[in-house]
Amino acid sequence: MTITLPSISLLPYLPEIVLLITALLVLVIDTFAGEKRWLVWLALLGTIVAGVTTWSLSLGPTLYLQDMLAADPYALFIDMVVLIITAISLLLAYDWLNSHAHQQGEYVALLLFSAVGMMTMGAATNVITIFVALEILSLSLYVLTGFARERLTSGEAALKYFLLGAFASAFFLYGVALLYGATGHFDLVGIGKNMAGTGLMAAAGVALLLVGFSFKVALAPFHMWTPDVYQGAPTSVTAFMSVGAKAAGFAAFLRFFHVALAGSYATWGPALAALAVLTMTWGNLAALNQESVKRMLAYSSIAHAGYALVGLAAGNALGMSGLLFYLLAYAFMNLGAFGVIIMLEKKGSGDLSMSALRGTAREHPLLAATMAVFMFSLAGVPPLAGFFGKFYVFGAAVKANMTWLAIVGIINSAISAYYYLRVSVLMYMVEPDENTTDVATNNRPVLAFALLVALVFVIGIGLWPGIWMQMAQQAAALLG
């Protein structure tokens, strides 16, 4: 018997491997080290090395590992987005981790493992790889959600997320099984080629896959877990998963939609448009009357998933690059908004109520101004990053003769302005409560630096959207 080894080229996977090695190192060093403060810096170094590797690996579009993964501009773009999100999330978690020193290594390692899953999702060209990446990303997030062990809500959130997530994974797998039964392929190109004339079985498979993706990126009506999980999880984790899981979920969703469903756009485009309308409206209406800022941002993140889905539903090149641009812009503004919450929340409470925002501008003028910028950007006020994100995806809808969808989106943006501006109004125009306890906003340079980075990018992307859009357009070249 002769054994023929498959030609395995791991080189394009190097960024992920760098992150994995960093995570393992963090885990092992954590058990020996007395001073755990620099584990975060080690992880950050690993993230930066992975970023440099991604940037310098110009291998050209190629499929590798038995065509399971693709190294195309699209995957590289998602890699960069995920790495930026990971780096900022590490900085956001720095202060919180120092008060949870005994769990520091696990937190950092799980965050990196989750990032590996996210990056793999962007590169996956096969439904099985997508599933494995999805599980790597989700399992780490389930544990991270329950990390604030001193609060019951954190454990509750983790259990809810785990149970519902496992359920969604089952839907996804059943969809994969049905699609395989109908088309005989696991790879997206093969599925796409054999889609024609497969009838009900393939349609049911695609529908089940849509449920799985919708759960991950929190599209209505599969969003029920979002508010509870976002509120219960430690805020630094909420920040990470609200942007990271969304970026990764949409990355795989987009590739699946544009490669496997390219021929059946007429069937699925309207379905996605309907989902987008439902998601935007539901998210925005529910966000109007929230008393917790984290919960409000959770509903807002549902609404933003709806806006991003408009780009997917449009189904054209502009929609594709618009969605990528949106994911990048959303990452910065949402990480920033959660960063401000981390700065303002009382120690150990893990949450921030709307009334606690009253008059914060007087004591913390810089912080209030920063929060206002993020809120304006989320609301889509020009010239900030959020405006151009919406501009491109709605523009794509108009181009695809779905002007009604763009109009629904714009109406929704107007609704959302109410609750985003409410934050600024509370901060600037209301007298502070007498019994507002002073929060420790001073002396947190790491957190302040993370906020500064997010702020610079939100304004920078808004002032020079052309550069970023050009990057997104180059990245929109999918390799099947």
């Binding site: 018997m1 002769t2 054994i3 080894l5 395995i8 393992l24 885990l27 092992v28 058990t31 020996f32 039964g181 109908a182």
Partner: protein
């Protein structure tokens, strides 16, 4: 394609009907002499005192987890070891990397006192 799945359906029906047939036949043939003692939980032995839904301390779960991990490692290593002579340097390095990653896990479990009986 659908025909092949049809065979699966026929198979499922037959597979289900065999045990069902047995149960129904036994139900039809057996003598029926019901009396209250037959309905108790134990026909012999003591009645339970208090609630039976109590928590058991399952502290061996950690050992079970670690056992499963290293058991699966062995499953992967056996074919690797059998084919060792035929593998190139690449295969050797891959195997070593695999063991190293698991070794990191073992160190982690050990230093976190997962191997101590608490």
């Amino acid at each position: 394609m659908l025909k092949q799945f049809g065979f699966l359906g026929v198979h499922a029906i037959i597979a289900l009907s065999v045990p069902l047939l047995g149960i129904v036949a036994a139900w039809l043939l057996r003598p029926k002499k019901p009396y209250p003692l037959k309905k108790t939980t134990y026909e012999c032995g003591m009645e339970t005192i208090g609630d039976t839904w109590v928590q058991f301390k399952a502290q061996y779960y950690l050992f079970a987890l670690i056992f499963v991990l290293f058991d699966v490692e062995a499953v992967f290593l056996f074919p690797w070891a059998v084919a060792y002579n035929k593998l190139t340097l690449f295969g050797l390095v891959e195997g070593i990397l695999f063991v190293l990653i698991l070794f990191a896990g073992l160190i982690y479990a050990w230093k976190r006192n997962a191997l101590e009986w608490q």
